[in-house]
């Protein structure tokens, strides 16, 4: 018996008939050839989130971002009100332009101009080549022809996105669509206390993403995060979401607030350290006052609302929590069976030590369960790669997983049909 009403079609999955209800093969997650198709069809064509405006608050502030799936590094720089992105390559002889100590690691800083470490060519924040060392030694060199190679760059709600297409088929806003645009007025820009995490994992980027699109696994993988006397009941109860939404390649799952309200529970069912810090798995208990939230945060109008997890195709997610904080997940493939997972926890600047302690508890909790996910997903990759099984059943709580794999396949197939094609 479902705890929450399902759509008239009988299930969330059947509400989106294009998804079907059959098993998935997961060949898309173990095939090196398929990954090469994804790189061309998705990572060189879709809008990719690469960072936040707060990372580059003033003119000259920059960060670099290695994007292995697109086979490049970019440098993203602030110039007045503009944010620009360039391929991080010197036009003279191809040296990686911006790096420090370790050429293959990302870096950040402040510059007036970018200066190549090899022969000293310099570039303005607009990418224009402004200096070529011993210019007179060259043959008819016109510096105007040797600016940095730009990358399409647009900002949405303070999130910086890039697109490696020569000409993106859609603007960023067209690509995101109404559901994701609905988060635009959330006060992301004020939430500058940031705990950032990173790990390299041995699993396919989609296999890893899958676990962050469904909470079906949570009462099993993460049950140990709860006091021992509750665990059997939590696992037995399982997980159901009151609202799912699919819009093109993107997805949304909302969780009910009743699951989160730890502070309403009898004290014996709360970890002592949570009681001491007034915080825990679902964040600090004392809600941050963010004012009225935009209705797009909870489009299913779930009451009590707990969490909305917005899945930005192809590899980014924003999770907005009732208690007034948010976190992000990002999944950057580095091969068909490896990825870099980046997680960030954001909140309003703490105004007191007690607020900081609550955020520390939330950030440590985030690490504890992310470790559980990361190791489990390496095990999943091993199981899939054994090739023993090629049909995997997905249930209705995994509807976003189903849509995600379909979307990646659709993008690849569309690209194969029409490499220069347009997105619907």
């Amino acid at each position: 018996m479902a705890r929450y009403p399902k759509p008239a079609a009988g299930s969330w999955t059947e509400h989106y008939p294009q998804l079907g209800t059959g098993p998935l093969s997961y060949e898309d997650s173990i095939s090196p050839e398929w990954y090469q198709h994804e790189r061309e069809a998705i990572f060189k064509r879709a809008w990719l989130q690469v960072g936040r405006l707060e990372q580059i608050p003033r003119t000259g502030r920059y960060f670099t971002k290695d994007i292995a799936a697109a086979n490049t590094s970019i440098v993203v720089v602030r110039d007045g009100d503009d944010v620009r992105a360039f391929h991080n390559v010197c036009r003279h002889r191809g040296n990686k332009l911006v790096w420090q100590d370790f050429p293959n690691e990302d870096t950040s800083g402040t510059v007036r101009q970018f200066t190549c470490k090899y022969h000293g060519w310099r570039y303005g924040l607009d990418g224009a080549c402004v200096f070529a060392q011993q210019e007179g030694e060259f043959f008819n060199l016109d510096k105007a022809d040797y600016g940095l190679v730009p990358v399409h760059c647009e900002v949405f709600a303070g999130f910086i996105f890039v697109n490696f297409s020569e000409q993106p088929a859609q603007s960023l806003r067209e690509f995101l669509g109404p559901m994701l645009l609905g988060v635009e007025d959330y006060p992301f820009g004020q939430m500058t206390d940031r705990y950032a995490f990173r790990v390299e994992c041995r699993s396919n980027w989609k296999v890893f993403s899958d676990a962050f699109m469904e909470f079906y696994h949570a009462p099993v993988v993460h049950v140990g995060q709860h006091p021992s006397q509750l665990r059997a009941a939590i696992t037995q109860m399982g997980y159901e979401a009151p609202h799912y939404q699919v819009e093109g390649p993107h997805g949304l799952v909302t969780t009910a607030g009743s699951l989160h309200r730890v502070w309403d529970m009898p004290k014996e069912n709360v970890k002592p350290a949570d009681l001491a810090t007034r915080s825990g798995l679902f964040g600090p208990w004392d809600k941050s006052d963010l004012g009225e939230l935009p209705p797009g945060i909870n489009p299913g109008k779930i009451d009590p609302w707990g969490l909305s997890s917005f899945q930005f195709f192809p590899n980014f997610a924003i999770l907005i929590w009732e208690a007034g904080w948010y976190n992000t997940h990002q999944f950057w493939p580095t091969s068909h069976n490896t990825l870099v997972f980046e997680g960030n926890v954001y909140s309003l600047p703490a105004e007191s030590a007690s607020e900081r302690v609550g955020r520390e508890m939330a950030a440590v909790s985030f690490k504890e369960y992310s470790l559980q996910d990361a190791n489990t997903l390496e095990a999943t990759q091993l199981g899939l790669e054994s090739g023993v099984i090629d049909q995997f059943p997905l249930n209705d709580q995994e509807v976003l997983v189903r849509n995600f794999h379909k979307a990646t396949a659709d993008w690849v197939h569309e690209y194969q049909r029409e490499p220069a094609g347009v997105r619907a």
């Binding site: 206390d193 940031r194 705990y195 950032a196 995490f197 990173r198 790990v199 994992c201 140990g224 995060q225 006091p227 970890k271 002592p272 350290a273 001491a276 810090t277 997972f341 997680g343 600047p349 703490a350 105004e351 007191s352 030590a353 007690s354 900081r356 302690v357 955020r359 520390e360 508890m361 950030a363 440590v364 909790s365 690490k367 504890e368 369960y369 992310s370 470790l371 559980q372 990361a374 190791n375 489990t376 390496e378």
Partner: protein, 109 residues
């Protein structure tokens, strides 16, 4: 020379080991400590953790005296070991030794 405010002299015996500035250091200390050691630290802190947080609250975060910062860092270590003590009864969550999840930046203190 005491590391902590005199009100928290009882915690002084733990300060050199657990008053650590970054999550990376606190995680490393948890991974290399015995459950018995962490239990002793946890048991000593938890009855007074409310008072310790309240003491730190007397100062603005960007202008805390050094002994209060040390106390705050000790509270962070209490949070860090609480998972090992309350939930896992071992240093790391079960079945996670094959991976890491490094905190690469955080607000300070």
């Amino acid at each position: 020379m005491a590391l902590l405010p005199s009100d928290f002299a009882d915690f002084e015996q733990f300060a050199a080991r657990w008053s650590l500035a970054t999550e990376r250091e606190r995680w490393a200390e948890r991974m290399s400590s015995s459950i018995d050691d962490m239990q002793a630290f946890y048991d000593a802190i938890i009855p007074e953790v409310g008072e310790a947080i309240a003491y730190c609250d007397k100062f603005p975060l960007d202008d805390m005296p050094e002994d209060a910062v040390n106390l705050l860092r000790l509270i962070y270590s209490f949070v860090m070991v609480s998972f090992a003590v309350e939930l896992w009864r071992q240093q790391s969550p079960p079945d996670t030794l094959g991976t890491q999840f490094e905190r690469i930046s955080e607000p300070l203190p």
